[in-house]
Symmetry: C2
Subunit: 259 residues, 2 copies
C-alpha cells in the first residue's frame, strides 16, 4: 500500500522501515525539521520529503501519523489528505476521536505496542499491533498492512486501549523506576549492578509463565516484620523510597492476606 | 569436598545437585520430614539421610545449611559438627553472626543469589555466589567449591549483603507485584496478558543495558498531567493501586525534575 509518514521520531523510523521491508512503498515523509525528514527519507528510499501538512496531492492510500502525543491535536487540525484516504495515528494513549477533524478521511488507529529507540533494531514480527477504525470498511486494509509486518494483530477499542496503557505504566514505566532505585541502592553500597541481573531475569521469566501474584516472594508476603523494619531503617535518609517500600509492602500484604 | 546438606527445600535441592555434578560427594542430607530427606537423597546418589542435627560423626568438611530464614536460629542452636568443619548458611538476609553458637566450626556464608523452584532447572554457571567467612582461612576452600559451580563468585560482608537484599526487594519482589497489578488490570479490561509481554521484555532488556533512570518513559516523566488524571480516574475503585500510581509517579518526577 502506498504510504505517507507524518513524523520522524522513533516510531516513524522503525515503522517506516518495517513497512518498506514488507514491500509497501513509502511515498512521502513529513517533518517540520528539515534534517529530520531528510534523514528518514534516506532510509526510506522511495520517499520524497514534505514540509507541509497539505497532502491532498500525495499519491498514497495510507497516512500514518507518528508524532508525540502533545503534537497530535495540532497535526490533526492541519492535515489534509486525498478524499477517502485512510489516516491512522500510532499513539497508545490517544483516542480515535483525536483525528475527528480530518475532512474526508477514514480515521483509524495503528498502534505498535513497543518502546522504540532508533539505535536498537526491533523485530516487528513479535510486536502487537492494535487497530481501531471509525468505519468497519477501513479495518480490512489496515489488517492487511499490519499482518504484513506482525504476527500479532488485534482490534482494540479506544476504551480498552486506555486500560492497556494504564497496565503498561505499571508493568513498564513503574517497573523501570524500581529497577533504577535498586541500581541506585547498589551503587550506594558500592556493589556492581550485574549482581542482580540473573535474579531480575529469572523473576521476569517466572512472571511471564505464571500469574505474578502466585509466585510472589520476599519479606512482605512472608510477613517478615524484622526484615521489613531493618530495610526501612536502611532507607531512613531516603524518605520517598521508604514510602515506596512501605506502600508496596502493604499492597503485597493486602493481596496475600496472612494464612 | 565432602559435603553435608541441612535442609531439603529449593535451595538444598538445586545446590546439592549442582555440587554433585561438579564432582563433590554429598555424604548426608538432613530434614526433619522423612519423605523430604528421602526424596532429596534419591537425587544425591551418595547421600545417607539423617534425622538428627548431631553430625559429629559425619565424614564431611562442609556443612551447608539451606533452611527457611525463620528456622535458622533453631538449627544453629542444635547443630553439632566435627571440630574444624566449615559450616555455611545460604541465606541472603541473615548475617554471618546467626551461626555464632555452633561450637568448633568455621562459620561462613555461601549465598547463591537466585530464586529457585524445584520444577525449573537452573544453570548455576551464571548465578552469583556470595561468600563470607569468620576467619580468612575458610574463604579459600569456600571459593574453590563456589568456583566449581559458578563463574560469578564474590566476597561480600553481612552489611553489604543486607543492602543487596534491600535492592533485590525493589528489583524483584516489588517489580513482580507491579507485574501482577498490570495483569489484573488487563483481566479487568478483558485483554490478554500476552499483549504486554514484548513490551515488558524490551523494558527489562533496556534497563540491563543502561541506567533505568536514563531511559525512563511514560506520562510521569513527560509531566503529562492529563494522562495521569485519566489513569487515576480509571483506578478510582482500587484506592490502594491509585496510591501506588500516585506515589511512583511522584518518585519518578522527583528523580526527573521538569526541564
Amino acid at each position: 500500500m502506498n504510504t505517507s509518514i507524518i513524523g520522524s521520531g522513533n516510531v516513524a523510523w522503525h515503522l517506516g522501515k518495517a513497512l518498506q521491508q514488507a514491500g509497501h512503498k513509502i511515498v512521502a515523509v513529513y517533518s517540520p525539521t528539515p534534517s529530520h525528514r531528510k534523514e528518514l527519507a534516506e532510509e526510506l528510499v522511495s520517499a520524497m520529503t514534505l514540509d507541509s501538512l497539505d497532502m491532498r496531492n500525495i499519491d498514497a492510500e495510507l497516512f500514518l501519523i507518528a508524532v508525540p502525543d502533545a503534537a497530535l491535536a495540532s497535526v490533526a487540525a492541519q492535515l489534509q489528505v486525498p478524499a477517502g484516504a485512510i489516516v491512522a495515528h500510532t499513539s497508545g494513549s490517544q483516542p480515535l476521536a483525536a483525528l475527528r477533524g480530518i475532512a474526508g478521511a477514514q480515521t483509524s488507529v495503528f498502534y505498535p505496542l513497543q518502546t522504540f529507540s532508533k539505535s536498537k533494531p526491533v523485530d516487528f514480527k513479535n510486536i502487537p499491533i492494535l487497530l481501531e477504525a471509525t468505519v468497519p470498511e477501513t479495518l480490512h486494509p489496515l489488517q492487511l498492512v499490519a499482518n504484513s509486518i506482525s504476527e500479532q494483530v488485534y482490534e482494540v477499542s479506544s476504551t480498552k486501549r486506555k486500560h492497556l496503557h494504564l497496565a503498561a505504566v505499571f508493568a513498564c514505566n513503574f517497573t523501570n523506576h524500581l529497577l533504577g532505585i535498586s541500581r541506585e541502592l547498589l551503587q550506594q553500597a558500592d556493589l556492581p549492578y550485574t549482581l542482580l541481573q540473573p535474579l531480575i531475569q529469572e523473576t521476569i521469566a517466572k512472571a511471564m509463565q505464571q500469574h505474578p501474584f502466585d509466585v510472589q516472594t520476599g519479606p512482605a508476603v512472608r510477613q517478615d516484620q524484622n526484615v521489613i523494619e531493618e530495610h526501612l531503617k536502611l532507607l531512613q535518609d531516603q524518605p520517598l523510597y521508604q514510602q515506596v517500600y512501605q506502600l508496596l509492602s502493604q499492597s503485597i500484604q493486602v493481596q496475600h492476606p496472612k494464612e
